[in-house]
């Protein structure tokens, strides 16, 4: 038996325009919205497949080295002590992460300026500072999570590969707060620098090329200026290393200062200080001769400076 259809059930009501009388959460909601939208933009959520390629590559680049190390550890066990540990891990991944953040940071800022959406934000309960901070935090949180993910994977691999995982954890527990602290240092640097550059150009390609170029120029320049000239050591009463070499930096005592030029090494020096790590890189060795406060001050300058530029740029933006 079929049910009789109510002929009136299909009525259409024109509700017209409805006024809104729900809650209004003002500036705090606006800030959260900018943050959430920034996260979605970076991860390519709600966009086509192309928008997800870079986030996936970024994620892979952050955890791939750790994955390889874990696989080797699982096969070789404690014998694989030649692998980079937690103290070296950020140096291994920082360059790749920096390249990806240099490419991705402009995506977060330039479309809003280019498409004119920024003017729509700034006529709402939101200041330019709210906007910049929201965008920065959204990027920073994602980069920090990626930076940590590789270290977490490496830590788990090291613990599981140890002959006695409990003993290993007891002996190396300090690595955990160290990698957490160093992760913030690295993530802050590789977030703020590309974002500052992205704030002054409307073209994503220019911003990305500038940051990547900065690395590829500053690294060899620093390497040359801190490189050493070696010659046969003279045999004296004090020096008995006949046939060995003695090396002097080509720039003499200034070499340690030239080491600061190595742009990508800026957060790694702090990482080495946190882990109390002897970095074998010649530029890092030159930097290690500097007073401890100098690399810290340089790092603060290289993060606070771009941070200020980013903030200042949006105070001056012409709409």
């Amino acid at each position: 038996m079929t049910e009789r259809v109510n002929e009136r059930s299909g009525e259409v009501f024109d509700l017209g325009y409805q006024h809104y009388d729900g809650p209004r959460e003002g500036r705090s909601r606006a800030r959260i919205a900018i943050f959430n939208n920034g996260v979605r933009t970076v991860l390519g959520l709600g966009r086509g497949p192309k928008a997800k390629i870079l986030p996936i590559l970024l994620f892979v680049s952050a955890i791939l080295p750790a994955s390889i190390f874990v696989i080797i550890l699982s096969v070789a066990g404690p014998a694989a002590d030649f692998l980079p540990g937690p103290a070296d891990y950020y140096q291994v991944v920082s360059l790749t992460l920096l390249i990806f953040t240099a490419i991705m940071a402009p995506e977060l800022l330039t479309p809003d300026r280019r498409d004119g959406v920024l003017q729509l934000y700034l006529v709402r309960p939101l200041t330019a500072t709210d906007y910049v901070v929201g965008r920065f935090l959204s990027f920073f949180v994602i980069v920090l999570a990626l930076v940590y993910s590789g270290q977490v994977m490496l830590q788990i691999g090291l613990i599981l590969a140890a002959a006695d995982p409990v003993d290993f954890l007891r002996d190396n527990w300090l690595d955990i707060p160290r990698f957490l602290a160093a992760g913030i240092v690295v993530a802050l640097f590789i977030t703020v620098v590309p974002m500052a550059v992205a704030s002054v150009t409307a073209r994503r390609a220019y911003a990305a090329v500038f940051v990547i170029g900065l690395y590829f120029i500053s690294t060899p320049v620093a390497a040359v200026l801190t490189s050493s000239e070696c010659r046969h050591a003279e045999v004296t009463e004090e020096r008995v290393g006949a046939g060995q070499f003695e090396c002097e930096p080509v720039t003499g005592d200034a070499a340690k200062w030239f080491s600061l030029i190595a742009f990508a090494q800026t957060p790694i020096r702090i990482n080495d200080m946190i882990f109390d790590n002897d970095n074998g890189d010649p530029v890092a060795m030159a930097a290690a001769e500097l007073p401890a406060g100098v690399p810290i001050a340089w790092y603060l300058l290289m993060t606070a400076g771009p941070g200020f530029l980013l903030w200042w740029r949006y105070q001056r933006v012409r709409l």
């Binding site: 509700l15 017209g16 325009y17 409805q18 006024h19 809104y20 729900g22 809650p23 209004r24 959460e25 003002g26 500036r27 909601r29 606006a30 959260i32 919205a33 900018i34 959430n36 939208n37 709600g46 966009r47 086509g48 928008a51 479309p111 809003d112 498409d115 004119g116 959406v117 003017q119 729509l120 934000y121 700034l122 006529v123 709402r124 309960p125 939101l126 200041t127 709409l319």
Partner: protein, 300 residues
Amino acid sequence: MPALLEAIGLSKHYGSTIALESVSFSVQEGVTGLLGPNGSGKSTAIKLFLGLIRPTSGEALVLGEHPYDSVEGRARLGYMPEHEALPGSMTASEFLMHMAQVSGLPPSYARTRAADILRHVGLDEERYRPIGEYSTGMRQRVKLAQALVHDPVLVLLDEPTAGLDPGGREEMLDLIQRTGRGFGISMMLSTHLMGDVERVADSVIVLEGGRVAEEGAVSKYTQETETLDIEVDDKQEAVMAALTERGVNVASDGNMLVVENAGDAEYDAIRDAVADTGARLRRLATRRGTLTDIFRDATR
């Protein structure tokens, strides 16, 4: 009733360039046209009321507050910019939800509100398509929708019909009229097109060279130029003479007679003149001048 917008001795200088000079006016509820040629200071006035720039001197008040300083106060203001201001990669639904939240609405309310407004502007069916695929007319509707999504008290529209074809322009003006008059959302419409103001606005402020040239109700201006057209089948000259005899200022305009500013006395005189002369009255109709006629000089 307090003004929604108020300019008090408002000036804005860019170096030696004067964009606005000691301008004073107020905007009440309803639809107000801000009319003027390019460079008259319309966009500067809008930016000042939106809090995007600071005045050189004077005050720009929105709902009694200074928009540059009162960030929270902007939550009750809507803005539809003239130029492109939409993210091509987002869908209209996602964009409106986002803008509702940026205006302070919680996410669940923002979702409902976005759907309601997109239906209101006629984009219900297209809401899940990326905005980048929209036509110019559809993009203008999204711009209007984002200005309305948080149910503002006042919406500032900057050249809302710019770039639209005649059909799209009519639809946009109809939408503005419905929103402004039908739903009680006050609007200030900045445009250089007098026809747009005449079509939708209750009052008009005419800017020229950074100063207010005219200000008042649209009906006031059109009433000033109101004429009464008298068309008779015969005895036109006799009717004209009879009206002149009764002290009515009447002129001949081809096959009809025209009386300016006709009041009750003129209507009585016309009735008597037609009756006395025995002329057959074909048509008696009022005709109002357009804003184009009225402000032609001011905006030239």
